[in-house]
């Protein structure tokens, strides 16, 4: 039977290294199957997060051959097998053990976002064409791959000043909800630091749900921030009125 060679990160906060495992290949196999095979036969304490194994829960994110992926959707037959397949934890977050990282920062950011607040006169009639764009944002499975590849987080560690693409998508879903009554533009600018995003679209490229993160969420939100805080006419009016 054909075999694949895996090099999987084994270690914890104190450090670690790649360990080599040989895994027999079955038709249609995905990387997560291989990790389960390693757990069952070679390393029972290999730490891996997973749940649905069908690309719906966003638990099994890792970097396969250096590319951030859901391991449950990464087919072995799409990877070159003449060299070892490396599997490493998401780089942007601190390692807990092996492929499991500490993603609790994301949950803390989420807590800062003001929730949905329906308009007082809401009659709860909404039309499909009005909810289509919000439904795109609500497809997010919180795999945090977009957070992992975002330069602002991955290279510059701006966790304190920046919310990251996941939460721009979440805010877009609230801001563009047909019946929402709040404005979150000030918090986008000040708390989530949307200005730091320089729209390189890395987040969009890795999204397993194919959400157009940059084009449909981040850019329209940036425009809202610009309209509210940097509109030259409004700035002039505010200056004259002394309300700036």
């Amino acid at each position: 039977m054909a075999e694949a060679i895996f090099e999987v990160f084994r270690g914890d906060r104190a450090g670690g290294q790649l360990a080599t495992y040989r895994v027999p290949i079955a038709p249609g196999m995905v990387v997560l199957d291989a990790l389960h095979h390693i757990q069952a036969h070679q390393a029972p304490d290999l730490a891996v997060r997973w749940n649905c194994k069908a690309g719906k829960c966003g638990s099994c994110s890792a970097e396969v051959n250096g590319r951030p992926r859901l391991t449950c959707k990464t087919r072995m037959d799409a990877l070159p097998l003449d060299k070892p397949i490396t599997v490493q934890p998401l780089k942007a977050f601190p390692v807990i053990k092996d492929l499991v990282t500490d993603v609790s920062w994301n949950y803390r950011v989420n807590q800062k976002i003001p929730p949905f607040e329906p308009r007082h006169d809401a009659d709860w009639k909404m039309f499909q064409e009005d909810v289509d764009r919000v439904q795109e944002f609500r497809k997010c499975i919180e795999c945090f791959l977009c957070q992992n590849v975002c330069h602002v987080l991955r290279e510059h560690d701006e966790m304190e000043q920046f919310g990251g693409p996941r939460f721009f998508v979440r805010v877009a879903g609230l801001e563009m909800h047909p019946l929402d009554s709040r404005s979150r533009t000030r918090m986008l600018k000040e708390t989530l630091g949307i200005g730091l995003c320089n729209i390189t679209k890395c987040c969009t490229e890795v999204c397993p749900e194919e959400i157009h993160i940059t084009d449909n969420a981040i850019i329209p939100l940036k425009e809202r921030v610009v309209d509210e805080f940097y509109d030259p006419v409004l700035m002039l009016v505010r200056k004259i009125r002394g309300t700036a």
Partner: protein, 572 residues
């Protein structure tokens, strides 16, 4: 030995953070209770996220003739009248309000032309009844509940597992568990506990369930002396993926059939004509699962041992819009474009109708202070659950359990925790590390899955079930001698060792109940007792711990009031 552990205190402790657990938390918080939610995975990853087709609620947005009575009748008939009628009534009456509430918290369902929540057809439902968001309804639901909980300041203990309920005399007063991350122990003191831990599918080999579905809540309740009911009724969803091997069992939503998909065997025959000519593909899940199984067994299966499910007769854009995740799932995992050709599907272990026996109004178990909701609880679905009735179950009875748990907590002034029970629970978790030459928990788990798959599957008989009981005994002995490698730091092998104990408890309960029920009804099919037996139709099997043995007895199915009997009997 003095065990090191941290302690947290809550009025209401909720175990499980899927739809039922989160809705219970919101219910208890609305009553002013201090609520804690414990979950084995990260928040938002619970199995609810995998629910695809929709939430059944008689909103009558699409078919205006629908009302709670029809939903009630469909649920009772689907459950072969073994349901707790009062639960089925409450469920049908309250589901629409629970859906509206979700919308008011920010959920965005697909819409009708008139701007209302769109509803689709599903197996066993007389009318188009399932409120949905494409084929990712569960994700919408869990995200909405999760965000609502975060906003209200819920305390969530993520990646934390409970291994024992702590009791003071006859009532529960707390729970013992461990943090998956560091392996440290934790004790929760609580006046009420809600079990919302979901099902048991991980005891079978071919299953749509995730690693979390190991029957923890049912085993915790059983150990604490609570009754389990209807444990023989395990739902095999008719349509799981069958190829390639790695994806075997992954769910293919019933919405494919709801949207018009047809089933054929390898001869091209639309075989449901033989099994249920009236409802065809939208027959109940027990019937469709047996039909596919029978076609395959009689040699009319597909190349990989399934049936063909074809939605490609619908326009490609429609399929991608209504079933986006199915489209991607097959394209990416099986190289099949479902807009162009058929899927191969076969039965997969999916849902547990049985579980913790609770009272209909307050979702309380037979142990004071211990509540249960959602898949972990029994009663609503009887012998077979209709698709879409699970998400509504989570909302209706999650809320009721949360409210009742908070009310119960209000009446409790003091609670005692017995340090001896904590020491014992800690000892049993650490014992796994004591041996170095035992078997791997993964090997025992694989053998358990083989046993349940082969001997306690869709079709059962006395010989197989008796053999299963013998094998389960041996598996229990092996589990007592297994060894765990590595440290307590995020160690899945250690976690599985503990989960195995729960799986063995529920597997035994399923097998004993299946052996006792000498008839075929709903999801329980006995080759040696074909067809329903009216005497068994009046009884529920109940499992309870007596010392160290599992005792089984029968209890009469609660009798419906006459007007509801009439409703169920009405030919419509």
């Amino acid at each position: 030995m003095t065990t090191q552990y941290e302690t947290h205190e809550h009025d209401v402790l909720i175990i499980g953070a899927g739809g039922a657990g989160l809705r219970a938390a919101l219910g208890a918080m609305a009553e002013g209770a201090k609520v804690g939610v414990v979950c084995k995975s990260l928040l938002g990853k619970a199995h609810t996220v995998m629910a695809e087709g929709g939430i059944a609620a008689a909103m009558a947005n699409v078919d205006t003739a629908d009302d709670w009575r029809t939903h009630f009748r469909d649920t009772m008939r689907g459950g072969k009248l073994l349901n707790n009628w009062r639960m089925a009534q409450i469920h049908a009456q309250e589901a629409p309000d629970r859906v509206r509430e979700l919308e008011q918290w920010g959920a965005l369902f697909d819409r009708t032309q008139e701007g209302q929540i769109l509803q689709r057809a599903f197996g066993g439902h007389t009318f188009r009844r399932l409120c949905h968001v494409g084929d990712r309804t569960g994700l919408e639901m869990i995200r909405t509940l999760q965000d609502r909980g975060v906003q209200l300041g819920i305390d969530v203990y993520m990646e934390c597992a409970i291994t024992r309920l702590l009791k003071d005399g006859d009532r529960v007063t707390g729970a013992f568990g461990y943090w998956r991350e560091q392996g440290r122990f934790v004790v929760f003191r609580a006046k009420s506990i809600v079990l919302a831990t979901g099902g048991i599918g991980k005891a079978w080999k071919i299953t749509s369930n995730s690693w979390e579905y190991t029957g923890d809540g049912m085993a915790l309740a059983y150990d604490a002396g609570a009754e389990l009911m209807d444990m023989e009724f395990v739902q095999f969803h008719p349509t799981g993926m069958v190829w390639p091997p790695g994806v075997q069992g992954i769910l293919v939503t019933e919405a494919v059939r709801g949207e018009g998909g047809v089933l054929r065997n390898k001869l091209g025959q639309r075989f449901m004509e033989k099994y249920d000519p009236k409802k065809m593909e939208l027959s109940t899940r027990d019937v469709v699962a047996r039909a596919i199984y029978t076609e395959v067994r009689e040699g009319r299966g597909t190349e990989h041992g399934g049936a063909y499910l074809d939605i490609s007769l619908k326009p490609a854009e429609y399929v991608k819009k209504k079933l986006p995740s199915m489209y991607h799932q097959f394209k990416e995992l099986a190289d099949v474009d479902i807009t162009k050709g058929p899927m191969e599907v076969g039965p997969t272990c999916h849902y547990m109708m049985g579980g913790i026996r609770v009272d209909a109004e307050a979702a309380q178990s037979s142990v004071a202070g211990l509540f249960a909701a959602g898949e972990a609880a029994a009663g609503l679905h009887g012998a077979n659950r209709l698709g879409g009735n699970s998400l509504s179950d989570l909302l209706v009875f999650g809320r009721r359990a949360g409210l009742a748990a908070a009310e119960h907590a209000n009446k409790i002034s003091s609670m005692a925790i017995d340090p001896g029970q904590i020491e014992d629970a800690a000892r049993s978790m650490l014992a796994f590390f004591e041996r170095s030459d035992g078997e791997s928990p993964y090997t025992i788990h694989r053998d358990l899955q083989e046993t349940m798959q082969n001997l306690v599957g869709i079709f059962r008989n006395e010989e197989d079930l008796s053999r299963a009981l013998e094998k389960l005994e041996k598996l229990k002995e092996r589990t007592g001698r297994l060894s765990v490698e590595g440290s307590r730091l995020f160690n899945p092998g250690w976690h599985l060792a503990q989960d195995l104990k729960a799986m063995l408890t529920v597997s035994e309960a399923v097998t004993r109940s299946a052996l006792a029920r000498q008839e075929s009804r709903g999801a329980h099919s006995r080759i040696d007792y074909a067809g329903p037996n009216p005497a068994w139709g009046a009884k529920n099997n109940v499992i309870v711990r007596e010392g160290s043995t599992m005792a089984l007895r029968q209890t009469p199915v609660p009798e419906m009031p006459n007007e509801l009997k009439q409703l169920v009997a009405d030919e419509k």
